[in-house]
Amino acid sequence: MDYEVVIGLEVHTELSTKTKIFCGCTTEFGGEPNTHVCEICSGMPGTLPVVNKSVIEYAIRTGLATNCKITQYNKFDRKNYFYPDLPKAYQVSQLYLPICQNGFVEINASEGGKKKVRIHEIHMEEDAGKLVHDDFEDCTLVDYNRCGVPLLEIVSEPDMSSADEVIDYLEKLKAILQYIGVSDCKMQEGSLRADVNLSVRKKGANEYGTRTEMKNINSFKAIKRAIEGETERQIDLLESGEKVVQETRRWDDSKGESYAMRSKEDAQDYKYFPEPDIPPIEISDEKIEQIKNALPELPEKKKQRYMEEMNLPEYDTGIITNSIHLVRLFERTAEICGNPKDAANWIMGELMKMLNDTQTLPEDMKFNQDSLGKIIVMLNENKISRNTAKKVFEKVFSEDVEPEKYVKENNLEVMTDTGAIKGIIEKVVADNPKSVEEYKSGKEKAIQFLIGQSMRALKGQAPAQEVTKILHEILD
């Protein structure tokens, strides 16, 4: 029997506003426990929330970038639940009138082509604190630093049908959020978190199967594995005549399996009601228009432009436009070296290799954005060899050296004095009579060895063509 899988996502993203959603505390990640707190975000009796206007603006920006309709009469609601990381014992959220509704994000479908993943809603809410389990002391401590950090919850419709589609959706979404500057989307710091709602059904069936929810999976790879694992588990259940239970499950990525946390019957009654401490917020047409006009070029549009105007291959533009950090580097590099193609090639080739080798994410690149462009300029002007260029870029990547200065200080410039080059090559020829003999007896390959030796003697500072040319002059 063939099955199909139906997946919807709830994505939480922490907004990168300077201050928290209801008070003036910093949203900065980390910090000594309970140092980014005040009486408001720690829920002291008598305190009141005042909505940070930037949060509203960021939410509108996100809605517009994901083709949503903006709710112009907004309210907040209280979601009541008791947990040690929630000092007020309720979370201020939006249930009845979320700020954005009915949008979509376009992704690559598994079956080829494009498809739209519909966004049901985006709402604003406050983050909770963090529990820190101290095994050594056998106790649990609570850190309120994260309390009140603004969150958007982006709820999709169940429009995805494979792990690949989910990953593509998340990558597209992440790129959009980074482009419009509302979140840094660092999964490892929890500023992008996804809950996966998944069900399976027989291919062609009209009704959805019973779904489970997997919470807070914290990397794209883990999400992919969790989806594959859960799909298999549900199909196995159905195949053996059992039923899928509607429940929340926790994915244990190290064991590669999920286990039940709580079933629907134990589901909490959040006793939502309108938040009385925050008056309704009205958003004018002008405000929406103003935010819309200030939106930057979004990934899909940028990709099209790169392909059309710069004649870059679709694959490359896809990779580059998926990350605002690669885009920034690309655009700056192209600007400096005047050649988008070169910029793209270096990013797709050398940079990707280094990111991969060092397991670095584009957002964690630390080097000056001008450096790659400067290297390409030196290369194109024949001031350095390709080999040198690669080596300098490695240094730039790992130590953020200034390329021009580095080249100069380490005498890496290409030798322009043909006489001097010739002198060195002549010495190589004199030192390797055997190879010269072989070449002269018709073994063409022997010249490769001589080129190599010459390059070594020249420390790579002469162009290979030049060396080859001089060798031929000497030997032929």
Partner: protein, 490 residues
């Protein structure tokens, strides 16, 4: 003139003209507390040391001429114990907050500090402002200065009684469903429940956030008006506080009754109202008519929905507001708890009193899925209708007039056994909170047992001025506010 007999405005004047020092005024109040609070139990905490130090500081500012603009500079004040005072216990008269010292001042406290007032102590109340008698306090009931066998009303019972017993010159209370007006009525003093959004709630420990409002309790209308001018005005820290024209209390003293259109909701005099109360309130209406007001009765049938709507909305918000008290972060922690779960359960079971528990359960019930539509949603609909009927009434009238409560002060213990009866006593006050309107309570006579009766004037939103003008003229034309109980030393 004896300090304790002065109004707050008179006292500030005497201080500014160097007849009295701030320390003398403060000491006089502290002495009165020492002499009488054993009888009346108005205070949960007296901060003698801080008050005297502060008195000297204020004196210096007055001497330097820095407080000339403040009408109440140098006046000692007492504050209801649900208003946060930095470093001074703020208990809400609950065991669960019995050791809670806030790290910050409520906005109103900041404002009265800026105005050069001196906080002498914190006032007893019904636990978390839930109750109409001040009997639900963890620190014991406050006694009515007119008859110590009677309740002072509530929940700001400590505030009203302290002013009536001359243990305070002026006080701050809070009103969620009548908690300023009703104890003022029971104790024969004057109080203002301001328009929702006119006084910052920042630092007022929440009972029902959409209804709570801080207001003054004083010896007369002018004092309340002066106090209101100090505490009112938009606060950046309270999103529900509103921008409006700065209130000038001297305007209140210049008004006239003549030509004012006053509506009397006939439904305010229906079943359940005590004969004496009805008589005195109608006599007050008659008096205002003599003074030139146009008085007219009209029907307001929505009154019958007021109590259920109020208790649903207030309890719903209360259960959410009070769920943060867990015995961990601050406040009372059960000593017999052996683990985290027990700490939560026991701290709350032992820390909250019966009335608070009743409202927490009621609130959770009306919000729970399956019941929300039948209760909470209906209550919100009733709220809309109540607002609409006031809106309609104010098309015709400048203000409305009625009793504050259906009875005068009840005997201690009478209400505790019958909470439903106590709830019904709020019938004339809760609607005003639901509609967010201002209302003033002024003495209008005494019943056959010589217990005070209060008159309620209800105004349009942010029109405190008009109701206080009429209340001021009424007060001048009568002598009910001048009457004092015979006090009993402890």
């Amino acid at each position: 003139m004896e300090i304790l007999k002065m109004t707050a405005l008179e006292l500030s004047k005497a201080i500014k003209s160097k007849e009295i020092t701030v320390r003398q005024a403060t000491q006089a109040v502290l002495d009165a507390i020492a002499d009488y609070d054993g009888t009346y139990n108005c205070y949960t905490c007296v901060c003698e040391k801080e008050a005297l130090e502060r008195a000297d500081e204020v004196q210096k500012l007055i001497d330097e001429g820095k407080l000339d603009a403040s009408p109440l500079a140098g006046v000692p004040i007492a504050v209801k114990d649900n208003i946060c005072t930095k470093g001074i216990t703020t208990t809400c008269s609950s065991k669960i907050l019995s050791n809670f010292k806030p790290t910050y001042n409520a906005t109103v406290v900041e404002r009265l500090n800026e105005a050069g007032m001196v906080i002498v102590g914190k006032l007893n109340m019904d636990e978390f402002a839930m109750g109409s008698t001040t009997e639900t306090s963890y620190f014991g009931a406050t006694k009515n200065p007119w008859n110590i066998e009677c309740v002072p009303g509530g929940s700001s019972g400590g505030a009203a009684a302290s002013v009536a017993a001359d243990e305070a010159i002026i006080a701050l209370g809070s009103d969620t469903g009548g908690s300023i007006r009703q104890p003022c009525s029971f104790c024969g003093v004057t109080g203002l429940k301001p328009t929702y959004g006119s006084v910052s709630r920042y630092g007022l420990v929440a009972y029902a956030s959409s209804l709570d409002q801080i207001g003054p309790i004083g010896k007369d209308v002018a004092d309340c008006a002066a106090m209101y001018s100090i505490i009112s005005g938009r606060d950046e820290k309270d999103g529900t506080s509103m921008d409006f024209e700065k209130f000038d209390y001297t305007e209140v003293l210049k008004g006239e009754v003549k030509g004012k259109k006053i509506g009397i909701p006939s439904d305010y005099f229906g079943e359940g109202i005590a004969k004496d109360v009805k008589k005195k309130v109608l006599a007050a209406a008659e008096k205002l008519k003599e003074m030139g007001a146009e008085i007219e009765e009209f029907d307001m049938p929505i009154v019958k929905y007021a109590i259920p709507a109020y208790y649903i909305i207030a309890s719903a918000e209360a259960c959410s507001n009070l769920s943060r008290y867990d015995g961990i972060k601050y406040g009372y922690k059960s000593e017999s708890a052996r683990n985290l779960r027990e700490t939560y359960i026991k701290s709350r079971s032992e820390g909250f009193g019966m009335e608070v528990k009743r409202r927490i359960m009621l609130g959770n019930f009306v919000l729970s899925s399956g019941y929300y539509d039948a209760y909470y949603k209906k209550a919100l609909q009733a709220k809309k209708l109540i607002q609409q009927s006031f809106f309609d009434a104010f098309e015709k009238y400048d203000m409305l007039l009625g009793p504050v409560a259906p009875t005068t002060a009840l005997k201690l213990g009478e209400s505790l056994s019958d909470p439903l009866k106590m709830y019904l006593g709020d019938i004339y006050t809760v609607m005003i909170n639901i509609a967010g309107l201002p209302a003033v309570s002024v003495p209008c006579g005494f019943d056959s047992n010589n217990m005070p009766v209060g008159l309620q004037l209800i105004g349009k939103p942010f029109d405190e001025k008009t109701i206080m003008q009429v209340a001021y003229q009424y007060e001048k034309a009568t002598d009910f506010s001048d009457k004092k109980p015979n006090l009993i030393k402890a």
